[in-house]
Amino acid sequence: MQEKIKVLSAKQISVQKPLCEEWMDSPEACSGQYARALDPDFRQFISAGESRRLGKLLKRALATSLSALADGGIANPDAIVTGTGFGSIENTELFLDALVRDGEQMLKPTQFMQSTHNTASSLIGINTVSHGYNSTYSQKGLSFDSALYDAWLQFRLGRIGNALVGAHDEMSPVFSTFMRKAGHVKDGETCSEAAVSVLLEAGGERPAMCTLEDLKIVNRPTSGELEEIMSGYDPDAVMTGRSGNAENDSWYSFLRSDVPQLAYKPLFGVSFSSSALGFYASACCLKAGRIPSVLNGGNGDIACRKGILVVNVVEGRHHSFALLKPVCGR
């Protein structure tokens, strides 16, 4: 029998107060076209000397990772798997600006190094002296889901005992307009930033927030296949990527109407890493034993006994399903 995969800890930096769960009862407003994340004091995680070459995304990735590892009681994870849509896009933007302005002769090495997508995962590996499995997924809005699925497979194959899975995306004002023009952020949605780190362990005695019971990624499923997938789940609620945009929300119309449908995007905004916030928020609800009213359209808290199904639909085609359940006996 395979050991249950537990979520030991989960940390976020987003438009909500960082590295805490104040959003459950006192959320910050998330509105407008574009909203930046609220950063913690990074000096509690890295010295000024170490951080001087790091852009926002890397500092945030390090802060959420170190915080999740400290909370979960694991210093050197067996695997570090990261999802990111654009990586350090602000450095990429600076690098490209310099390329246009100064030509190819005088490019800054630091910005060039940070322009690669796998910088966050490798930085976490270096900082935590973790020489195990280290991988990065860049699959637009399915980046976190892909990273999580990789870790899930590594657990199932018995290759790892624990894993730090994260998703990190920053957003510049200029690039947020590109996101909107490309249709990745839609009318009524706030383009935002997200950094989420989740620590998972197979079995073990450490206290956990919840368990990850099932994980699926399905591309272009038929309505019959979606119906069959959903018939296998009986959660308290479904954590959806509904945002208030009609086209986006129509992608979730296959969900059963008799199960409460929650929405985290009005609270956290939209980025390529936002599905990680849905996973994070669900884990927090299961730990607290309640789904706060803010996720339920202000319609009151919901008790959390059976679990939460996190559903992410990207571009109406790619579907991911993560079933989180409360820890038995708690």
């Binding site: 000024a48 000397g49 951080s51 001087r52 070459r53 100064d102 002769q105 005088m106 490019l107 800054k108 090495p109 630091t110 190094m113």
Partner: protein
């Protein structure tokens, strides 16, 4: 020369993102690498780019950087003698 040294210190702080360092914290004769400011090889590349971009000095032999970047005073002196803009 003093004005040049102050400007150079400000440029070094900016290009290397030395957030907590002020121009007056940098000793004109202290080594930039190793002890002193504790810069490393990536910083050396940044300084080479700085010299080319701001002063038109193209360092043909990167090995020369070891001598040129010895201290702010040495660097400022080299820039004064070799600048093309």
């Amino acid at each position: 020369m003093e004005e040049m040294i102050l400007k150079l210190k400000q440029e070094i702080i900016e290009v290397l993102n030395l957030e907590d360092v002020k121009p007056e914290d940098i000793d004109n004769d202290a080594p930039l690498f190793g002890e002193g400011l504790g810069l490393d090889s990536i910083d050396a590349l940044e300084l080479i780019v700085l010299m080319e971009k701001n002063y038109g000095i193209k360092l043909q032999d990167p090995a020369k950087g070891k001598e040129i970047f010895k201290s702010v005073n040495v660097m400022a002196d080299y820039i004064q003698k070799n600048r093309t803009k």
